[in-house]
């Protein structure tokens, strides 16, 4: 199971990576914005994307839409992890077809729960 963690903040990337390692996932690729994430997705297969929303160059919402709009990656699970907590934001994320949504600051339990939920729904 390979994860792609996308966040412009090195701190947040490290926190998410650390949490994933605690959950037992050790194949993790990192990108600092949506554009770099798309390059990574083209370069190597990834099973799960965890992305921030607010990023320069290409934000997480745009990345999600690009993933959904691209045949080979359209079914990729995308979990949005962001400080954005307005209802309008959630609606936009739904429209972009993210699989789930976590607000920062998060607890590892919430992150694990969301990942498991997405995996269960993908397996079903």
């Amino acid at each position: 199971m390979k994860f792609l963690v996308v966040d412009d903040s090195p701190t947040m990337r490290r926190i998410v990576v650390n949490a994933l390692q605690t959950f037992g996932y050790d194949q993790i690729v990192e990108a600092q914005d949506g554009a770099e994430a798309l390059e990574k997705l083209k370069a190597e297969p990834v099973n799960f994307v965890i992305t921030d929303w607010n990023m320069p160059n290409m934000n997480g919402l745009e990345l999600t839409k690009a993933i959904r709009g691209n045949g080979p990656t359209s079914g990729l699970p995308v979990l949005m992890v962001t400080t954005r907590g307005l209802k309008q934001d959630i609606i936009e994320a739904l429209q972009a077809k993210v699989n789930n949504y976590v607000v920062k600051p998060f607890t590892p339990q919430v992150l694990k729960e969301k990942i498991d939920l997405i995996m269960q729904s993908m397996a079903a």
Binding site: T11, I15, P56, R84, G85, K87, I91, L94
Partner: protein, 367 residues
């Protein structure tokens, strides 16, 4: 006849001259006041000009200081994370050592039990009264009756697990660095915008006749550009909600609400909102909810026109940087067509879309 006409013209002209003098008499006080006003306003304009220039000089310094703050906090956070990683590694080593000690202890305990059995067997088979065997049996019996090692091992494991949880919590608490950095970036963005406006005002003063009135303005060099905020960046920042500090930082202006007591308020507000949303939306828009559920679970996509975006994405070459304009166009087309009924339903539930929602609310949306 001609003389009469000449006299008439002369009289008319003299009347006009009289009117002119009368007007002059009335205008002179006004002109005097105007001169006084200009005399008084000139130092004020000079002061404004100096003030703008001084403030413009300070703004790059403010941006630089903010940049240093974000860089320092990011560096410090990284160092804390390194220490936490070190602690986690040491905990893992301690945990493994503890397990090894436990294994060795149980092996030793097993050996002692065997020795006790041998002593017992010896005492009951012709060695009764042997002082050595009696002593060995007594020692082993005493040790086995006071064995608290299993409790100690369990306690130690519990303490190590607790320390591990603490380190994980410290790591997670460091999310605050990202949130505060976003806030600083938002403040820097405001400073940059103000700088742009002041630059504009200064440029206007320099290029207008006010500059001539205010002595010395013409000779002032234009304000030095802020290397932290070139004018092109300001325009881009406005569009992308990002600000350049020690690196380009995209920010959520509302990120501060994620911290402190606001976080708890947000959670409470979300709980209330979630209840309201469920009671209204589920009752009013039953047909729409499954669409949202399917969309977020990935089971069956909402009818969203993505052909345009797919075509646009496939046109992207691996070597081509992703163009913001392309993306804007790409998502503009999606936003026009990608309006699932369920999303509209969410808008129609009587809840302000600008309200904040909690993780619980979000969970409900994604169930």
């Amino acid at each position: 006849m001609a003389k009469d006409r000449d006299i008439q013209v002369l009289l008319t002209k003299s009347e006009e001259l009289k009117a002119l003098f009368t007007l002059g008499q009335r205008v002179i006080p006004f002109l005097e006041e105007l001169f006084i006003f200009v005399r008084e306003v000139t130092p004020a304009l000079e002061e404004i000009n100096t003030s703008i220039q001084d403030n413009l000089k300070r703004i790059p310094k403010a941006s630089k200081q903010l940049s240093k703050v974000t860089e320092a906090t990011e560096l410090a956070t990284n160092e804390i994370m390194d220490i936490i990683d070190g602690m986690t590694y040491k905990l893992n080593v301690m945990n493994q050592n503890m397990k090894d000690v436990q294994t060795r202890y149980y092996a030793l305990q097993h050996a002692c039990s065997s020795v006790a059995e041998i002593a017992k067997a010896g005492l009951s088979n012709g060695q009764m009264g042997n002082p050595y065997l009696t002593k060995i049996e007594a020692i082993l019996n005493e040790e086995s009756s006071n064995d608290t090692s299993s409790v100690l091992f369990a306690n130690s494991e519990s303490v190590m697990e607790s320390v591990r949880t603490d380190t994980n919590n410290i790591m997670l608490s460091l999310q605050v660095q990202d949130i505060t950095t976003q806030q600083i970036a938002a403040v820097n963005h405001v400073i940059e915008t103000v700088q742009g406006k002041l630059n504009g005002i200064l440029g206007y003063i320099q290029n207008s006749e006010v500059g001539i009135i205010v002595g010395g303005v013409q000779s002032q060099p234009p304000a030095a550009p802020n290397k932290y905020m070139p004018s092109e960046d300001l325009q881009r920042s406005s569009a992308s909600n990002s600000s350049t500090l020690h690196r380009e930082i995209a920010f959520d202006p509302e990120a501060v609400d994620s911290l402190g007591s606001a976080k708890l308020d947000r959670q409470n507000q979300v709980d209330d909102l979630l209840n309201a949303f469920h009671s209204n939306s589920l009752a009013l828009h039953e047909a729409d909810i499954p669409e949202v559920d399917d969309a977020v679970s990935g089971a069956s996509p909402v009818e969203v026109s993505v052909e345009t975006s797919a075509a646009a994405l496939t046109e992207l070459d691996a070597d081509d940087p992703v163009d913001t304009t392309d993306i804007d166009a790409l998502f503009a087309s999606m936003q026009v067509s990608a309006q699932p009924e369920s999303a509209t339903a969410i808008h129609d539930d009587g809840i302000d879309p600008m309200d904040e929602v909690s993780q619980d609310d979000i969970d409900a949306l994604f169930k």
